[in-house]
């Protein structure tokens, strides 16, 4: 994962960064509220950088796949990671240009802890004219102990 963008230390500049963050959050929240399936899963924006994005999915009863344990469905984590990866393509391009998932592989490392929100962080590590390459992890509180690891590619459908 790429480090977060370096922040300038003087007060005015950091204030400006915060304002940018807040503006970005408002903008992305509105964008995401227009995506019905993200609403259905409760997926929300956390933060993003030049080539990465982090989204979150709060624990909810309707995400459960194993009622005996309360463990959420791996399919819901797949949705979270597809969305985070797609967002990392947006932040890398700097605009909301259409793209489509070509393929996505998700390795489920362990079950997410029942009751815990899951965070999905993905980065676009290479962009060509037509294809964006992404990778990322999902975790439930500790990024050093992820629940899933993903790699994938997106086709930039707006490219000629």
């Amino acid at each position: 994962m790429t480090d977060e963008p370096k922040r300038v230390l003087d007060d005015d500049a950091s204030q400006r960064v915060l304002d940018d963050d807040a503006r970005m959050r408002r903008f992305v929240d509105r964008f995401m509220q227009a995506v019905p399936h993200l609403q259905a899963l409760g997926i929300g924006y956390v933060r993003s950088g030049p080539n990465w994005a982090e989204l979150t999915m709060p624990y909810a009863a309707h995400l459960v796949a194993y009622p005996e344990t309360g463990t959420i469905a791996s399919g819901a984590i797949f949705s979270l990671m597809d969305s985070a990866a797609g967002f990392s393509v947006f932040t890398t391009m700097g605009r909301f240009e259409p793209h489509a998932t070509l393929d996505l592989r998700c390795d489920y490392l362990r079950p997410a802890k029942p009751g815990q929100a899951v965070f999905g962080r993905a980065e676009c590590y290479k962009m060509t004219r037509k294809v964006a390459f992404v990778r990322g992890i999902a975790h439930d509180g500790d990024p050093d102990h992820p629940v899933a690891h993903v790699t994938g590619t997106f086709m930039l459908t707006g490219a000629s």
Binding site: V35, S74, G75, A76
Partner: protein, 122 residues
């Protein structure tokens, strides 16, 4: 067929004829305008794989844990019903390897295909 979990019910999935899973179109499945969210299609594919393995196992106490899931998106998911059917490539003692296809109006034109390894905990 086994009972569907809450996540499957949230997606609106039901078991159709001939072991085909059906995800009727519903507005809450939409991703970008006019298209199904890829994650919803992946959810359908994973469920179809899980149910096929569950049904193929004699011992119902086995716990299924999908460990790798790879989804290829072949066509746009339109705002119509989606179907999925799984094919078990190998059912071993410890692992099942499954291929699943999802289609909409034409079974010969899949919109997505998935390959899964599912760990079987006995």
């Amino acid at each position: 067929m086994s009972a569907l979990p809450p996540y499957a019910l949230m997606l609106g999935i039901r078991v159709g004829e001939d072991a085909v899973l059906v995800m009727p179109f519903s507005p809450h499945l939409i991703g970008s305008p006019g298209r199904l969210h890829g994650g919803a299609v992946a959810g359908l594919l994973e469920l179809a794989a899980n149910l096929a393995v569950r049904d193929a196992l004699a011992e119902k106490s086995v716990v299924l844990k999908p460990v790798t899931v790879t989804v290829d998106y072949l066509r746009e998911g339109a705002m119509v019903d989606t179907f999925a059917r799984a094919h078990i490539n190998r059912l071993g003692r410890r692992v099942a390897n499954v291929r699943v296809e999802a289609w909409q109006t034409d079974a010969g034109k899949p919109i997505a295909a998935a390959q899964l390894n599912i760990i079987l905990e006995r």
